[in-house]
Amino acid sequence: MPVRKSRKLIRAGTLAVFLASSSPLLRGQTGQPSVAPRFALSARSIDSNQAVEGWPLILQGTFCHPQVYSRSVNVSPLLINSMNGSWSNTVHLVVTDSSGATQSWPIQLVTIPSGPIVLDAINVGRLFWVVAPSNTEAIAPGTYMVQGTLDTTASAGSSGWSGTTNSNIVSLQVAPPLATETSDQQERQYELLAEYDQLVGNDVQALNDINTLLAQQPNSVGGLAWKGTILEQTGQTAGALAAYDQAVATAFAINPDPRAEPPEALLTPQGRLRSKLLSQSGNRGTPAIAIQLLDMGTQAPGVVFFDLKISNVGSGIAANAVIQQFAFNTTAGTGQLTLNNVLTPLPPISVDYLAVNASTTVRIYVNVPSTVTAYSIAEMGEIADIFGTPTPFTETQAVTGSGPLLGDLNGDGSVGCDDLAIVKASFGKKVGQPGFDPRADVNGDGVVNVLDLSIVARQLPAGTTCP
């Protein structure tokens, strides 16, 4: 036999053996159909094929039967047996650089389902992997390929599908940190951080990420929707609905005529959450409002701030409570009080979704003449139930004097370094955290930061030095 012809035969034979050994289509388990599961891999960073150093990287694997969602075919299920307690252990990812060299990225599988999985016309398996922001920083900029493999040959047993199937190859361009970020990139970064923190089980940090974004971009529809999603997943239905309501309102404000593209992705969870709130309350119920004077103090000479605690003391959820107007009445001394319109948000002041017995705090500033020694504050407005039916209210608080001096946190009658020390001791702390001192949260926003520090510092004599 000529040498060239024999080589051709050897090549053909090798190809046949390779196909027989590697293609799951030809190696179906006895009693199992000769089909292989499908494994789709995708990446999320700044977009689906570009990652940024210092940003999280999220990889998602989707596993399904080739005839998933099929209605016309009788689908024989594919059983992926578990390995070491989870079917996810039959999957591994390989990263290579542009020269084909294998990389050792610290990829962490964050969803570890227990036991096996059955893939059929309905059931789909999903796995998520992450690379932490601190770890993406260590990845050199360049182009990388990521591919996953599902290999059940060692774990199939007698009942499971046995074979190997590869995912699509994800091409990922890793870029150095962005020198400056556009608002869209900033929004994307915080949304990605929130998703990453949720995947690693840190819902509190995920919410912090989104709140940080919303502090910088209050009209971020994506951020508001993310906030709603996180709050819903953590069981805070009322807060979630409030976030989705705001997202819907913002979306309609941006695009007042959305007939061509209604925000279905927002309207669907909004409706679901509203129904859930109704079912949680059990009956329609009637909300009722109570407003108490929680705290007061002198902001500046002649300007007094009041922290008003607004509570729902009724039997049903309040969809909305609105203070439409304030009224002041001098009861001792002479002179007339007025709302300080520079410092106070102008009425109407609206509070969304107050559950039964829930409360929130609003700060107002009032110009109080020194000749007035006693007075009352009244708030007039409406509280609406979950269907939007309004009930009017008028609440009144009696006040004597002008309260403690602004910045006098320890109540010793003067502002000094010891008051700054109170802020210092709680600096960076949020309400509910160990070490949070409510006296240090001078502006009442729930966090002790430089806004509180500077309020106290302003009241000190210029040139003061404090340790």
């Binding site: 150093e53 400056t180 430089v450 500077s454 510092a457 210029a462």
Partner: protein
């Protein structure tokens, strides 16, 4: 009439030309002043600067770094705010595991005007502990003026490259390596010849 139209045109042109400059001047920039390369094991300082700010009374920001590459050892107040009067500086909370210094803050004291212009807000002392690149990014920035109004700002990140320690082969090592490569090359040549013969 022609003159008045001409003057008006000049005025409009001047307004148009000056408007962007004025708008830009309203936004302060916080930046990390380094793109340095340092050897592993060395200590160095990084300045966080501010530019184009008007009436700055107090500030707060977070700084993030790669803890596998850098470890933060100390934080010192910069000189910019001190030019306005006495201050109260709070160095941030350092986490060398996560790689950040959160809530670095400083405020002037007393009912005095803020500081304008460009200068150093704080200085961060690092030790380079491992080879690699660390970006130095700023976030959660709060700036206020002397009337307690929030000031707009943008941030610019910096980066530090830490070079690992490399071992220079000794001459004898090079000689041994050379002999090894020559032997391998000779074996490869002989092997190729066999294939050709078959």
């Amino acid at each position: 009439m022609k003159n008045s139209i001409g003057i008006l045109s000049v005025l409009i042109l001047a307004v148009l030309l000056l408007a962007p400059v004025t708008l830009l001047a309203d936004t302060a920039t916080l930046s990390v002043a380094t793109t340095a390369t340092v050897p592993q094991g060395s200590s160095f300082s990084v300045e966080v600067n501010i530019s184009s700010v008007s009436d700055l009374y107090d500030f707060q920001f977070d700084l993030a770094f790669n803890p596998a590459v850098l470890q933060l050892t100390n934080i010192v107040e910069g000189g910019f705010l001190l030019t306005g009067g006495s201050t109260f500086f709070l160095p941030g909370t350092v986490d060398n595991t996560l790689g950040n210094a959160t809530a670095n803050a400083d405020t002037l004291i007393g009912a005095i005007p803020g500081v304008s212009g460009t200068g150093e807000l704080a200085e961060f002392d690092f030790t380079a502990v491992g080879p690699g690149i660390s970006s130095l990014t700023l976030s959660n920035v709060i700036l206020q003026d002397s009337t307690s109004s929030l000031l707009d700002s943008t941030t610019a990140a910096g980066s530090v490259t830490v070079q690992g320690t490399t071992t220079v082969p000794e001459p004898s090592t090079l000689l041994l390596l050379g002999v090894g490569f020559l032997t391998l090359a000779a074996m490869a040549v002989r092997s190729n010849r066999r294939i050709v013969l078959v």
